[in-house]
Every structure is written in structure tokens, then in C-alpha cells.
Amino acid sequence: MNLFGEAFGWILDPANWQGSSSIGGAILLHLYYTFVSVLVASAIAIPVGYLIGHTGRGREVAVAISGAARALPSFGLILLLVLVLGVTRTAVGAFIAFVILGIPSILAGAYSGLQAIDRRTVDAARAVGMSEWQILTKVEIPLGLPLLVGGLRSAVLQIVATVALAGYVNLGGLGFFIVQGIPLRDYSQILGGAILIIVLAFLLDAVFGLLANAVRPKGLDTRKTRSRASRPAAAVDTPTT
């Protein structure tokens, strides 16, 4: 029998979409863990990243934190935090781990988005009389948005993959099926769970891909806007011959 066929059979089996450990519930729980973690990580990393990017101070610290945190083994971090906080607060431990893993990419996205802006643009904004807050909100944040979304995108992927490990500490999510399937030697369930995680990751990545396009400031996308903006002008300028 084809293993993948069985795995898809397991995913599509209506019986697995019902009850206390349904696939639908696991997907929702997985998404819930992911988004709450990304939100908390963003609430910490974006202001810090903007502060560093705007002032230019503490850049070395940001680079060091991003680099070091990226090297953290996610499984080890979860187990460590769960052990330290105790089994009664497993969820808190796991959330902290997810947040810690999400921070580096978001921090890097926030501050590099600001760093990448031409200094002369910022200098000019200041020279015409924008306050520091206006420079941040009207110039730096809009221009830095594509890189921030890029950072969020990799954080979401990192966390959605790591939340799979939550199954090991009894928190459910799509990792649960893998953890449950291993002792049962139920390979269709293991592979089915894995496929669902992969599909979820791809979907989220696609959503953020679209979002990245949507937030790109129009003036920077010369090719696209030029053709659009010059069309009416060209119609006026060019005599019909």
C-alpha cells in the first residue's frame, strides 16, 4: 500500500475530523499558538527594532541577539523552559519558547527596514521640519515595511514549525498526531500530521508573500507604477499618427 495514499486517506477520513482530538481543532490550536506567539514577539521586537533603527544605537546588540537566538535549538529550549517552569505551567513555558524563537527575525526585519532607507531621505525629512516621531511614522515605517513583513514571514514559519513540538509536552496542535502515531506505529497518522504542518506552513508563507507585495511603497516599485502613471500622460502627449 502506498504510504502517502494512506496518509491522505487518514487526513480525509471524516472520523478524524470529529471528537476531542479532531484535525480541525488541531489546526485551529496550531494557528492560535502561532499567532499569539508572533503577536507577543512583535510587541517586543518591533518597538525595539524601530528604536535601534531610528537612533542607530545598539545595532551591535541587535545583531548579536538575532544571531545568537537563531542558533538556539528549539526543542531544547521548549524542554528547558517546561522543566524550569514546571509541568503545571507547560503552556507558559512553550509560549515563551515560541516567542523567543520568533523575536530575532522580527527584530532584524524591523531595524534593517529602517537601516536600509537612504540617509539623505531621512535627513531631508528632518530638514523640512518633521519631528522625530513624524520621521518614524511618516517616512521610516512605511519605507521599512517590506523588510518588516519579511521578518514576520520568517518568524511565522519558524514558529509554525516549532509549534509542532508542542505535541511532545502535551499541548496539542498538529504535532500531536505525530507524537501519538509514533508509539502506535501508525505511519499514515504520522505522515498525515506532517503533511498538514507542511501545507499550513506553505499557506501562511503564501499569505505573507501577498502581504509583502501589498505593503511595498508604490513609489519604489518604479516599473509597475511608471506604466500605470504614464499611460494617461502618454495618451495626451502623443499625437495620433
Partner: protein
């Protein structure tokens, strides 16, 4: 009037950009600060709108010490045009021009109306209003920069090598545009450049600077040409190379003006002097 009194600027790394600079910049004239790089000319100009604060000394605008004015408020009252236009890349031309009025709380519709009118003033076609800066040529971007500088109708306009990055033909056009604007608007313009020809063309007064912001000579272009203060000025204005020493030579029946190396500089207009005299008399009599 803008007045510098004993202004010193030392940067944190120890560089003394300006060492004891004093100057009065008269109102409603173009004053050009000219010098090579390191002469402190840009630093001096940026001290007027507090983009740089002096280490010591005082800068006054119409008798008021700029140090007592809140920087953001001060900058919004002074037009600023920089090299490479410094436009916001994510905003349309019309919104770029309206930036400061909008910050000051002018209603959006009114600010846009005024921005469109300013596009006429600086010679930009209104159909460019909805474009982004990256869709304009360098010369057009500089015009937008000038329009933005004029948006709050400031008394003072600071221009920091605004035409340094555009090609010579466009630069020539923009320089004439500045002279035309100045005849219409009569602003106090402080213009920074390293190009002595540009300084002589635009300046009512030209301030020649040496490194450290030391003034070598101040005067109208013709005064400086007639009496260069020293060898530095002679070299700087090109008098020593013969570029400025013109003589008349007859070629095929016309009188050609040539420089000391024999390169042609122009054609002598025999009637110009007489016409000017007649015109002057006519104007006086009417």
C-alpha cells in the same frame, strides 16, 4: 537678515569645521557660500535651521537667536532644497510639495491646490503631480525640491548644492529658473556651491571660504573679479589661468572675445553698452 557672530563648530571627533565665523547675510538677496570641500560651507548653512548646532557663537535671524527657537518650528519656517532633491520616494509629487503645509495643519485640499500652483511657479507640468519622484528626471526632481522649499512661503530659502548632480544643460536651465524666481519672489536665499561659475552667476554677494570656514573675501562677483583679495581667490576664480582674462580679436569681420589661452568665450555685442545707456535714460525719463 541672518547674522553669524563668532560661530565655532567642532564635531565630536575633534574636527573643527568652522572656526570663528562672522557674517551678515542681507535680506532679499542671494548670498552664495562658495568653497572647496571641507570649507565648512554646508555646516554653516545647516546651522541656520539648526540641523547643526554651533559649539559656540550666535546665529540670529532678524535679531532673534535661533538657539531660542524650537528646531522643528524653525525648520518649518525656512525653505530647504538639497542635493539629490531629498524627496520622499513613497509619496507623489504633489504630496511631497505639500509635506510641510500638511504638517502645519493646512487642510489637505488647500495644501494640494497650493502645491499645484507651486508646480506652475517652478515650471513643472501639472500632469506630473500624481507621479512618484523615481518617475521624474533629475532636473524635474530638483524643481519639485524647490517647490517644496517654497511651500510655506518662507522668507529664507537654503539651497545646498541643489544642482550639483544634474547635467550641465539642465543645471543651466535651473540656474536661470532660480534667477527668475528670485526676481518674482525676492527671498533671502543662502546658496552653497563649490562651483565658482555658479556662484558668480547667481550671487548678489559671494562669500569665498577657506577650510575651517574662514572668509577669504566677500563681495559682489564683479568686485571679486576686479580685486581678488589674494592668490587663493585669484586661483579659485580662475584669474591666474587666464580663464577670466578676456581680450577681443577680430575674426571674419566680427569681434570675438577670447580668453588668455585663445579659446573663444563669446561675441562682443557692440551695441549692448549703448543700448543699456539709452534704456536707462528712457526709464529715467518716463
Amino acid at each position: 537678515m541672518i547674522e553669524f557672530r563668532d560661530v565655532v563648530k567642532q564635531f565630536p571627533d575633534g574636527t573643527v569645521a568652522v572656526d570663528g565665523f562672522s557674517l551678515q547675510i542681507p535680506a532679499r538677496e542671494i548670498t552664495v557660500l562658495v568653497g572647496s570641500s571641507g570649507s565648512g560651507k554646508t555646516t554653516l548653512m545647516r546651522m541656520i535651521n539648526r540641523m547643526v548646532d554651533p559649539t559656540s557663537g550666535v546665529i540670529e535671524i532678524d535679531g532673534q537667536d535661533v538657539a531660542t527657537i524650537e528646531p522643528v518650528k524653525l525648520r518649518r519656517s525656512i525653505g530647504y532644497v538639497m542635493q539629490n532633491s531629498g524627496l520622499l520616494p513613497h509619496r507623489k509629487v504633489v504630496d511631497n510639495i505639500a509635506t510641510v503645509p500638511l504638517l502645519n495643519g493646512v487642510p489637505k485640499r488647500e495644501a494640494r491646490e497650493r502645491a499645484l500652483a507651486l508646480m506652475d511657479t517652478v515650471g513643472l507640468d501639472r500632469h506630473m503631480a500624481e507621479r512618484y519622484p523615481s518617475q521624474l528626471s533629475g532636473g524635474q526632481q530638483q524643481r519639485v525640491g524647490v517647490a517644496r522649499g517654497l511651500a510655506v512661503d518662507p522668507n529664507i530659502l537654503l539651497m545646498d548644492e541643489p544642482f550639483g548632480a544634474v547635467d550641465p544643460i539642465v543645471r543651466d536651465e535651473l540656474q536661470q529658473e532660480v534667477l527668475r524666481l528670485q526676481r518674482e519672489l525676492g527671498k533671502t536665499i543662502v546658496f552653497v556651491t563649490h562651483d565658482i561659475d555658479e556662484a558668480f552667476l547667481l550671487g548678489d554677494r559671494v562669500v569665498i571660504l577657506e577650510p575651517g570656514g574662514r572668509i577669504v573675501q566677500v563681495g559682489a562677483p564683479e568686485q571679486i573679479l576686479a580685486n581678488p583679495a589674494n592668490d587663493f581667490v585669484r586661483t579659485f576664480v580662475g584669474a591666474d589661468r587666464g580663464k577670466r582674462r578676456l581680450s577681443v580679436r577680430e575674426v571674419e569681420g566680427r569681434r570675438i572675445v577670447v580668453d588668455a589661452d585663445g579659446h573663444p568665450a563669446g561675441v562682443l555685442d557692440e551695441s549692448a553698452g549703448a543700448n543699456a545707456g539709452v534704456g536707462g535714460a528712457g526709464a529715467g525719463g518716463s
